[in-house]
């Protein structure tokens, strides 16, 4: 196996884990089947387009991305999503509608055409004799650090437990002093912001247009189906299996077999092991 293949594998797995993280929080913890997840990735990817069209300097891409996504997510949570906690099927329909609304909104502002974003780090670096895009190496390192911090924080904080209490029994949670409105809004906005961040990070490496979100929703969903909704560990396993299968089979056989295998795996898991490899503790 060549080094580039291994780097491709790591790139695919880490970016899929970042894309799926927000869905794992919103779907796994809040029990909102967020069909608009991909659209938050899309809005994040448009952040550099926003800064460029306003003539803002490049370093503002991150703040603009987080602010835009957080604002959209907060408004949606307060107006629509908060009525739907614990109503998984209703949330699916509502967020599907929201997804269409967001796509059309972006199309209205930026048009239907493709946008392009320059990477902040150009060129390739040579690692052990293999040429690899420098930007990808930086992103992989960033995602690794980010997940390490998240895992450390997750172990110490009681937020996950509070969210579980809130979704399981909102009235009891309120009675023991949990501010459910703030907690739910916070968790939803955080989940959406990680999706937006994924879009921002991926933007220089992908096509950018209003319909792009769907690709990311489907792959993130497959990763959660396989990995299970319980934990960061499950997320990593799911992303590893889905992205790994596509990458390996794509390189060794053909892209068609890679995609076929991913679909087959997802169907088998939904059928035989619907809770995934690391099921939720609920």
């Amino acid at each position: 196996m060549s080094l580039v293949l291994i780097l491709n594998l790591i790139w695919q797995i880490s970016t899929l884990a970042l894309v799926a993280l927000g869905l794992a929080i919103v779907f796994g913890k809040l029990r909102i089947m967020n069909m608009a997840h991909g659209e938050f990735v899309m809005i994040g990817a448009y952040a550099p387009v926003i800064t460029a069209s306003l003539g803002l300097p490049g370093w503002l891409q991150l703040p603009v991305c987080i602010l835009t996504v957080a604002l959209v997510a907060f408004v949606l949570e307060r107006s629509v999503i908060r009525h739907l906690y614990g109503r998984m099927f209703d949330s699916l329909l509502a967020t599907w509608g929201i997804a269409i609304l967001l796509r059309e909104g972006v199309e209205l502002i930026f048009g239907r055409g493709y946008q392009s974003v320059s990477p902040p780090i150009a060129g390739t670096v040579t690692i052990l004799g293999a040429d690899y895009p420098a930007y990808r190496i930086a992103v992989i390192a960033g995602i690794a650090v980010g997940f390490a911090v998240l895992a450390w924080w997750n172990r110490r904080s009681k937020v996950a437990t509070r969210i579980k209490a809130m979704v399981g029994n909102p009235e009891l949670a309120q009675a023991v002093g949990i501010n459910t409105a703030r907690l739910s809004a916070g968790a939803f906005v955080f989940g959406c912001c990680t999706a937006g961040l994924a879009g921002l990070v991926l933007a220089p490496t992908i096509r950018i247009e209003p319909m792009m979100g769907l690709d990311y929703l489907i792959r993130a969903f497959f990763a959660l189906v396989v990995g299970g909704l319980g934990s960061l560990e499950g997320l990593a396993i799911g992303a590893g299996i889905i992205a790994g299968t596509q990458s390996l089979l794509g390189a060794l056989a053909s892209q068609t077999y890679g995609y076929l295998a991913v679909l087959t795996l997802s169907i088998l898991f939904l059928w035989l092991k619907p809770d995934g490899i690391r099921p939720s503790s609920r």
Binding site: S2, V4, L5, N8, W11, Q12, R112, G113, Y114, Q115, S116, V117, S118, P119, A122, G123, T124, D131, Y132, P133, Y135, R136, P204, T205, I206, R207, I208, E209, M211, M212, D215, Q246, S247, G250, A251, S254, Q255, T256, G258, Y259
Partner: protein, 381 residues
């Protein structure tokens, strides 16, 4: 009840009246993708068609009669698209069609039309569609590649080609021809690959291109797939290893690929918005004057609707009517002039000027052009 019948009667009268007035004009159905994957091209296609109608009418219409365009969305599945066309034909009394859409829709329409109504098909396509009453202005693979591949191999000093496309008939037909031209010019094909439409990342394909040692890549990926491929291609620094040639990389696709990623990216087409001939420059300034500076940018697919209407007008003038038999008889050898250059109808396909453009720097610059390139996928007689 009386009131309702009265209303119905007056509506009928009104309809009959408007019908009577409109019958003085020739109605032409223009089939454009307002929705679906090609929806991006809807607005520029409509504009180009409207500009053509305006200019045809300014010159006295077709055979002395003004034309009126009626649009329908064909960015839908073939069965729905042919229903929409049928409504225009039988319901609105459309006398001819101009269509800019995919091949599946074309085949469905040909089944409906059955040679009874003239139909001009305008986008880039795989060739060899020869039903009666069908006239083609779009470029076929032989036109886009026969002159261009030997030229690039000589000018860029390349010989090892890697062929990559989406997995359907247009890329496969294109590559079958490309292999002949590459072999004739003394080159070799070092790889050939077809990817499904659902694939959004091309890492493994790019690695294969790297390992194949290719110094030229022929791209028949379409739309978003082409953008994603080309962005990653340059990201991996492959633009130093190989030139790229695309036969469906137009202005929107290039904008998505971006200036940073377009080094040594060539495109072959019958039209670019940057063609510098007088006819093309006049067309571009007319377009801006009619639709404003913020209008959807011109591109080969959108502009093809203009070509389609111009062919229809020239053909109907030559035949003296919009009757299919008369038009079929008049078609062979017909010559006319458009923004693309001097065209000739050969085998009901349009022999036309083919332009080779370099996208380096994020905007197409015309490298060279080839006059009067016929299609080898045209129809016999």
């Amino acid at each position: 009840m009386k009131k309702i019948t009265g209303l119905l009667a007056s509506t009928a009268v009104a309809l009959a009246l408007t019908g009577g007035v409109a019958s003085a004009e020739i109605k032409i159905g223009v089939l454009v993708p307002d929705s679906g994957p090609a929806g991006l091209f809807g607005p520029s296609t409509r504009n180009a068609a409207m500009l053509a109608a305006q200019q045809i009418n300014a010159q006295g219409g077709i055979n002395g009669e003004e034309i009126e365009l009626i649009f329908a969305d064909v960015g839908v599945p073939p069965a729905e698209a042919s229903q929409a066309a049928l409504r225009l034909w039988k319901g609105d009394g459309v006398a001819a069609f101009v269509g800019m859409h995919d091949s599946a829709v074309r085949e469905a329409l040909l089944g409906r039309f059955n040679g009874q109504v003239p139909y001009v098909y305008t986008p880039v396509y795989e060739g060899k569609s020869c039903a009666s009453g069908l006239y083609v202005t779009g470029e076929t693979p032989s036109q886009q590649l026969a002159p261009v591949i030997p030229y690039l191999m000589e000018a860029e000093n390349v010989s090892k080609w890697y062929l990559i496309g989406h997995d359907y008939n247009w890329p496969r037909d294109t590559n079958a021809l490309a292999k002949e031209y590459i072999a004739e010019a003394g080159g070799e094909v070092v790889g050939e690959e077809y990817v499904p439409f659902t694939v959004a990342e091309f890492d493994s394909s790019l690695q294969r291109i790297r390992e194949s040692g290719a110094d030229a890549v022929l791209i028949t990926l379409v739309g978003g797939g082409s953008v994603g491929f080309n962005v990653s291609f340059a990201g991996f620094g492959l633009d130093d290893q190989a030139i790229r040639l695309g036969t469906l990389i137009e202005e929107n696709t290039l904008a998505g690929i971006g200036a940073d990623n377009a080094g040594r990216l060539f495109s072959s087409s019958g039209y670019f918005s940057s063609i510098q001939t007088e006819a093309a420059a006049t067309f571009a300034s007319d377009y801006t004057a009619a639709f404003g500076a913020d209008a959807p940018p011109l591109n080969g697919l959108g502009q093809s609707a203009y070509e389609g209407l111009m062919l229809l007008a020239a053909l109907a003038e030559e035949a003296g009517s919009l009757d299919v038999a008369a038009m079929d008889a008049a078609a062979e050898g017909l010559t006319w002039r458009t923004p693309r250059g001097d065209n000739t109808m050969i085998g009901r396909h349009m022999a036309q000027t083919i332009y080779l453009a370099d996208g380096t720097g994020g905007a197409f610059e015309i490298v060279t052009s080839f006059d009067a390139v016929p299609s080898s996928e045209a129809c016999d007689g």
